[in-house]
């Protein structure tokens, strides 16, 4: 376990303390509880509030997407583990602006159960709550069973769209509708080259041979769809793009946003080599890249690998994607 940490049990608390110490102008705790992080800028009356939650170890996901034009608050779990409903409830109460709350999170059992309990709690306070689950990982369930698919790097697009709609003062019903439409149009697939080590566990999340990769692996090391010999990145990207494009499907003339996401230790250089191939494939198919994002957006600690996400756009989604958004971990001013 070669990590720059102190006591593994303090990993999450110390991470959040470091983030709050670094960015007090952007983020603050609720009641001094490091599980509950919310925006520290001025609240906007009657703006729909966006709440998210999830396990730690994925920065910038989830905490990094609390900011202007993104989410309003996050509940922070242990590494790869859902936080409690009690803490989610505290975040909800802190971020409510009187226009209702959208629970926006990845489709995982623990988060689903805890957000379900939170909905029961918060509805007793007469605060309206809706939810959208992100289900972008095409490798995690076949087409037609999208409600079984996991949420992975496409979460970023969901925060971007929901947050922009909320800042534009959409109603809760409309924020939910446009966010759900975005989710329905996001497809992601990843490839893992190495496991990562959960600090408290101290051992690798899975084992993989030195000459192997696993296509479709989840961001917690969930099994993928194929383990095979490590191939050239152009072949890997071709495989992933074929799966994503077929799953949607796309037609000539479609416009998309693409996210090439590093899982942790894969250098930016390699992400750009992957982008080079992905953009050539899209061009060949007559699919236009409207906006690209390349970097680390949803990681698995120090896992090596990457994922590619596409968001199919329409005019409304383009407008929302173009809205400014900023947090300590993400800036888009134009």
């Amino acid at each position: 376990m070669k990590k720059l940490i102190n006591n593994p049990e303090d990993f999450v608390r110390e991470t959040v303390e470091g983030i709050i110490a670094a960015h007090p102008e952007s983020l603050k705790l609720v009641d001094n509880n490091f599980r509950c992080v919310v925006r520290s800028d001025e609240k906007k009356e009657n703006k729909v509030a966006i709440a998210t939650a999830g396990g730690s170890g994925h920065l910038p996901t989830f905490l990094g997407y609390v900011g202007y034009g993104l989410a309003d608050g996050v509940t922070v779990g242990n590494v790869f583990a859902s936080p409690s409903a009690e803490a989610m409830y505290e975040v909800d109460k802190a971020i409510d602006n009187g226009a209702g709350i959208l629970h926006l999170y990845g489709n995982y059992g623990g988060d689903k159960m805890n957000f379900g309990m939170t909905e029961d709690l918060i509805s007793m306070d007469s605060i309206e709550v809706e939810e959208v689950l992100v289900t972008d990982d095409v490798a995690s369930a076949p087409k037609g069973e999208e409600d079984r698919r996991r949420g992975v790097a496409g979460l970023f697009f969901a925060y971007k769209i929901a947050g922009a709609a909320a800042e534009k003062m959409y109603s809760l019903k409309d924020v939910k509708a446009v966010t759900q439409r975005a989710v329905d149009n996001i497809r992601t697939m990843g490839v893992a080259l190495t496991p990562c080590i959960v600090p408290e566990a101290g051992k690798a999340t899975f084992s993989i041979a030195d000459n192997e990769m696993e296509l479709g692996m989840g961001i917690h090391g969930e099994p993928g769809i194929m383990r095979c010999e490590l191939k050239n990145v152009d072949e890997v990207v071709q495989y992933i793009m074929d799966r994503i494009i077929k799953d949607m499907p796309y037609v000539n003339g479609d416009e998309i946003s693409i996210l090439v996401n590093g899982l942790g230790s894969t250098p930016k250089e390699e992400l750009y080599i992957a982008y080079r191939k992905a953009s050539a494939i899209l061009k060949d198919q007559g699919i236009k890249i409207y906006r690209n994002y390349i970097g680390e957006y949803a990681t698995s600690l120090e896992m090596a690998g990457m994922s590619i996400s596409l968001l199919k756009l329409d005019d409304e989604l383009k407008g929302l994607l173009d809205q400014p958004a900023y947090s300590p971990f993400f800036q888009q001013y134009k």
Copy 2:
């Protein structure tokens, strides 16, 4: 060699092609040569131009700091190797705005030699050239021998200051003077936990035991000042901060900017745990953090580890640090 690449010999070209494909609004090649990357926005007459250069494998360094309020052009070498004087000369000619050029780069033998030859070439074109070498790595030579120190993550601060001064239409003499003053006030020290693998070489840059770390190691795997058992990050940060603070030295009331930089595979979570300790140490010593930067600013491919840099500020440096700057790899709008 577990990397998402194609032929290792194509690594640098394909990386640059991916970057240009992704960011044509910001970056372009000179004469279709992937070694020569310059800003693609409109040139500003009589603005001092900032040229840099260095080996690949360090993104966002060096190419990532070509942008508004940063450098105007970069010459791209092979991984960890200096590019040629001929290519540097092409970049110089492309970025010249009629007010002279500052060569701003890290203090390495190859870059020094090649920039020296470039100065001879460009001066024959009657273009005025000055240079500032970044020498921030306190571990690479003792105090009093600063001109032997290597340039590492503190390069970021040098680009930020020089680029802001140039945008504010400082003269070449004044851009050089304020950039040199910034460099004289930057101190960096790093720690490496793992080596990285240069694609063309296919083997690790050095070997280190599973329970060891190396303090003061350079960003190309140059030997550090102490190899020892891996310690808690709080102890590592204490050691680094003690060295940096003593080297400057700082006094109660000083204001600084701090950069906690990940070398490649160290998760953002760990960088924030390091920031937590570093900020506490500075507070204890009465040194005020004026602005912080936390993330990957100068990497060594997939090396695990981090560095801490401090820039001691005065009013002019604060003003320049606060100026907007943006590139595809770095955004600071406020």
